[in-house]
Assembly symmetry: D2
Homo-oligomer: 436 residues x 4
């Protein structure tokens, strides 16, 4: 049986093809810099948007039926596994990501929930056998259930903190069982609605405590992968504590979590924070926190998380440039935390959207390499800072300069010379590489 009858294995047909169900740019095995594209990109399917989301929005009911022809919640959960593996197989996607509550229905008690998750995890594990499909990362959904209305790790209720800890324990167990090398914290309700009722100090301390417990537990179980925090500035809460890369890095360092955690950076969250995607990746990279990527795209004129499939090749190129400069993914990968628009309600649209997103990042990878090979931009930047290689610049860098020595220098040296930043020229190089 098939859930996606209208398409088979999606193949690379190249730029000339007008077959909607074919890749135009993503050629999985094409070698780029000694490695197949697929190993650079490590595409992952997001369980939630791809298999669960009905595409409701605050003003409208869902447009996609997610019952997969079943009625019993556990049957539906198993059907999702089947559909997901068929989808990954057909799209040539080798990784997936999930929240505990995506894969299995919540039970009436925590014990039942736990059992449900374990049962589906076992089923997923059995499906993985004999395939190339791997778990990229797991996580726990600590934001949907009303019990988390005030947060999970940052809840004002200790019992809720305990419940969140319990879910995390089981999600870590599931991650380990499925061989995942990453575990993500997205703080969906870790923030506040109003400062009027909020003790921010306790909440942040507790959030760190929860992460520390998770690290301790997972390491005791032999987990040697990475933990990730996924920054987001707002939505659903008015203010989310994990605002952006810089904020999260400061938090992780403050609480001594910086050896175990890296960042999972999402494009749309970057723009909601007023940053470009590449900015967030750059900040993570130069601080040693480059971890994993949630690939999607926002709409700059909309103030919420639209989670669109990425189509902006320029941005994808800048992102892939950061990836390459970071030395590629270690445990991370490129997860499509993206959903079809509400009126794109057919299962065919799911495939068409993934094809579009995968082609976008394939192009981004190709173009990023071309920029590096072209060399003009990198050598411009290298040259631009050359004054720090010797003389007064070297003294500044090696710590021997002081305000006094620099004043003495300035009094002798006179007015400094500066060169043009050549922004427009550098931008034109980027255009040139993108469109040749």
């Amino acid at each position: 049986m098939t859930y996606f009858p209208n398409f088979g294995k999606i193949k690379y047909e190249g730029q000339g093809s007008k077959n909607p169900f074919a890749f135009k740019f993503y050629d999985a095995d094409r070698i780029i810099d000694g490695k197949p594209m697929k190993d650079h990109l490590k595409f992952a399917m997001s369980w939630w948007h791809t298999l669960c989301a009905v595409m409701a929005d605050p003003f409208g009911a869902g447009t996609i039926d997610r019952s997969y022809g079943k009625t019993d919640p556990m049957d539906i959960a198993r059907a999702k596994v089947d559909a997901g593996f068929e989808f990954m197989d057909k799209l040539g996607i080798e990784y997936f990501c999930f929240h505990d509550m995506d894969i299995a229905p919540e039970g009436k008690t925590f014990a039942e929930t736990k059992k449900n998750v374990q049962e589906i995890v076992a089923y997923i594990k059995s499906k993985m056998e004999g395939t190339n499909i791997k778990l990229l990362w797991g996580t726990a959904n600590l934001f949907n259930n009303p019990r988390y209305m005030h947060g999970a790790g940052t809840s004002c209720e200790a019992d809720v903190f305990a419940y969140a800890a319990s879910q995390i324990k089981n999600a870590i167990d599931a991650t380990i069982t499925l061989g995942g090398k990453g575990y993500v914290f997205w703080g969906g309700r870790e923030g506040y609605e109003t400062l009027l009722n909020t003790n921010m100090a306790i909440e942040l301390d507790n959030l760190a405590r929860l992460m520390k417990m998770a690290v301790n537990y997972a390491r005791s179980k032999g987990f040697d992968g990475d933990f990730y925090v996924e920054p987001k500035p707002k939505e659903p809460t008015k203010h989310q504590y994990d605002f952006d890369s810089a904020t999260v890095i400061g938090f992780l360092r403050k609480y001594g979590l910086d050896n175990d955690f890296k960042l999972n950076i999402e494009a749309n969250h970057a723009t909601l924070a007023g940053h470009t995607f590449e900015h967030e990746l750059r900040v993570a990279r130069i601080n040693g926190f480059f971890g994993s990527i949630d690939a999607n795209q926002g709409d700059e004129h909309l103030g919420w998380d639209t989670d669109q499939f990425p189509t902006d090749v320029r941005t994808a190129t800048c992102a892939m440039y950061e990836l390459i400069k970071a030395g590629g993914f270690t445990n991370g990968g490129l997860n499509f935390d993206a959903k079809v628009r509400r009126p794109s309600f057919t299962f065919d649209d799911l495939a068409l959207a993934y094809i579009s997103g995968m082609d976008t990042f394939a192009l981004g990878l190709i173009k990023a390499y071309e920029i590096i090979e072209d060399g003009r931009i990198d050598s411009f930047v290298l040259d631009r800072y050359k004054s720090y290689k010797s003389g007064i610049g070297a003294e500044i860098m090696n710590g021997t300069a002081t305000l006094e020595s620099l004043e003495e220098y300035t009094l002798k040296n006179g007015e400094p010379k500066v060169e043009s930043g050549r922004q427009e020229y550098l931008e034109s190089i980027l255009t040139q590489v993108l469109y040749r």
Copy 2:
């Protein structure tokens, strides 16, 4: 001779007064919680906006003549001192703040600039004698001159870094000479226009180096005041490194600058970063970085720094609440980094604007105390987190809880109970206190 002939000493006349040149709410000597209002608020005049700015904007020439009837730049600089002291005296303002290039004209050489600054500093010092007027903080203007087009501490040119260091040295000297207890870093060009030409890692390291040199120098000269970084997310550059409180605190901790630096938080910069003013103050407070305040107001629908005089009493109240909870100012104060609108081009408007701003914060202080005395909000918050005082909550707080112990607890405890956050009720209390 007078520069402000249309008004004398501005007095408190109370709410009923319709005299434009009178305070309606700011009663300097009124005791609040054992201290006069003026000692809570520590109002400061900003030299730049108040004495120098001609109110040009990117689409229009200045509307205010700042020659004060003189033609020689040093005469103008001295006239500004005279005008400034007359203004502070008439408004009852006891502090001022300045950049080096506000008080004296830039010379043809650095030596000449230095001499100009020293001469005016001496003149200011002489004017201070026998008055209550004090320097709140000094700083160096490292953004206006074209040499800083690529940044100062973050410039790609070592000579520019050296020039900036020289200006800082002299601005620190000036601050010490004038008895200032604060020195501010506002990184006007410490950021980037495009990542395409930027080595962010070097730039951030260098920025920290410059700050470290400043601390070393000032401490060696006996300065025991506070250094401040003033966060701002963007403008003039596309991205400023000192984005917001959380980012700056992370930066200061990373580079070991956290013992010498606090934050100088500006309302309008907070809103440009997507935060409320009180959010930025709260983040600073709970991390021990609450330092000083730049009081002004932005326009939420405009994406640039409008630096309006504050009129929003609700926000001022929330800000003063944070001030009180932080234990009041130590070395900091409340500097009006605010300017009149371009069409408010008379010197009378300057006074009317300060009166409006001072009344706004006076009301904010009064109302913040009333909220604390009222007690309903504080006690609601205290009660809200009580579950962490004992039982499982205490185990979370004291570090004995683990994921395993919390799962065990959850399995027994069942579904947690949560209470309403009562946001609307708490907001109504705030309205009640504000409008009674």
Copy 3:
């Protein structure tokens, strides 16, 4: 039986009261300018947020149970009527507003839906008897059902247009039956997700056609009330055609709908469009389109419709100033299109929120009158334009001036004199009136 056991009739107890279930500022029968407050304000309850919404958000399930102890959909619908009338009675609210699909469940066929609505309309009508409760306006929900995913009047499917027309016909019938004097078009899906698949010209023409049909039908049935368009710039769609007041007024004039339509202006929609609430009201007023108000409040840092209960008295004052200058409401009123925050999940919070919102607008009304009585702002504005009363100004106004005559005048007249706009002074008057 009661749905709100924790509070009885909410009474005015004045500013000193600490009783959460009492008005502090709204004194319904207090005479202001010869009319009771309640007749100025004409508060209305929104059926959807108050009786139906479960407070789900895109990341979380609902927190409020809306079954009212029933299981059958029609029983629930009737229970909502009972609850609504109890709520209005206890709060002293004399108006309500509804969408067809708020009051009755959608049936399996349109015929069934129609019957359901008619049945509940009859029940509502019976409940209204002997009370002061009136319908402010009715409308049809043309955005929730998946059939409207591409719009209703702007759908690319004629059958969907027809369905929308059918719903509107019945919603107009319901409005007439219940004596409503207003009918609202909020174009929830009248917009586009992407220009790539959109014929904007057809869509706008069709939208006008639908409105014209509605007018024709309603007038033929004797409806002599007002039609309203409610502007909103985006959400749920990427772009909504009814962007803001100016856009809608232009649309209504273009299609000859300006005699039958006025605007229903919502505060939060104004801010999403980059305007202040008072701006939107002013634009409507001076163009003769001031109709009705949806009272709520957005969060300036959040890019979606938060529909918070209004607490900003300054904004409410500016809004009520426009209301008074417009001569008060004719057929319109002040509908609370506002919802409690997701964590404010108790029925008590509903009442506390309405109390807060009603007090806010009561204060706004009081303060707006005080500003007009104070007279300083109005007379400043009157005086500011006096140059158009005579001389060259009068020639400009009466159409006798030409470019040539004005050049001649300028050549003689020389440099014009301008006066300060006195913004800061005028703002301080507002503060003074607000806080006395």
Copy 4:
């Protein structure tokens, strides 16, 4: 003598070229759809940014010297003409645009200003002889001088209105003298800073009066070109009356100016208003107001007019698609209202920036044609609305349908069927065309 010694005539060298001073995509004489690229695009040089702007910003002094080696203001003005014509000649640009105050210095009296402008106009006219260089449009700068602080046509001072009218008369004369076929109104100060001091009704009526006078005058002098309003939502004022395309079209229709005026649409102004560039163009097009284009690019994360040189080929493609669908330019053209970044301070950067911008729009034109030739998107849209061609859809379109007839239809017809909007698929076609 040359002002641009580092480059000669810029030639098309194609995609492979690494010569910075060469076009990679703009091949002026390449025939596209029967017409050379240059006649499709009609590139224009903006006098102000290209020849006058010193690249100051609110936090920094200018970085470009614009004295052209002269000291006398009229000599400088003539030097700008020489430099401008050399620049246009070298870049192959055949049009230019100017404000009166760009080309000549303001005199001490209006008479002197008038004389200055006339003198330079004559000089420009002499330079034009024997070249292909033409005036695209002229305009008057009614925002820089302090006299316009409260607006020009919307000033509260009649004398200022008269002064503005005088400037417009002379700018129209200059436009006619130079053979220009367009005259632009950009309402730089036509808006308000605060509603507290503003009579919006008078201001809008007066703005229309000024435009009417301009039309009457110009038509009497034989001007048969187009008038344009250039929409902008804010900056420099808090609110500009010409907010966006829809607002301006409504204004022009209200005041009967729609026969003489079209729109001059700027990309960056569109984004400041919360729209895409293509949205603004589409609104203008379907309403018959498509006129001219100000080509530049904003930064979506910055809230002010950055006026960057356009580099976004996707947006340029969507804009050129609208141009083609509008039937190409009539009197309008593509003016680079764009400036180099402040650190790009050399004259070489000016050329590099223009090359980048011209290549971007050349690519946009090429790609827009390819999309139309590809046909998949256009035919999808055509097919999508086919239900309005016959049956109930045709009745809706031809005005015979009523609410009653549509209800009858719906009762028979049952639930409408809708198709997927296929957004992701259509986006992937765009990517395919862009990157092949």
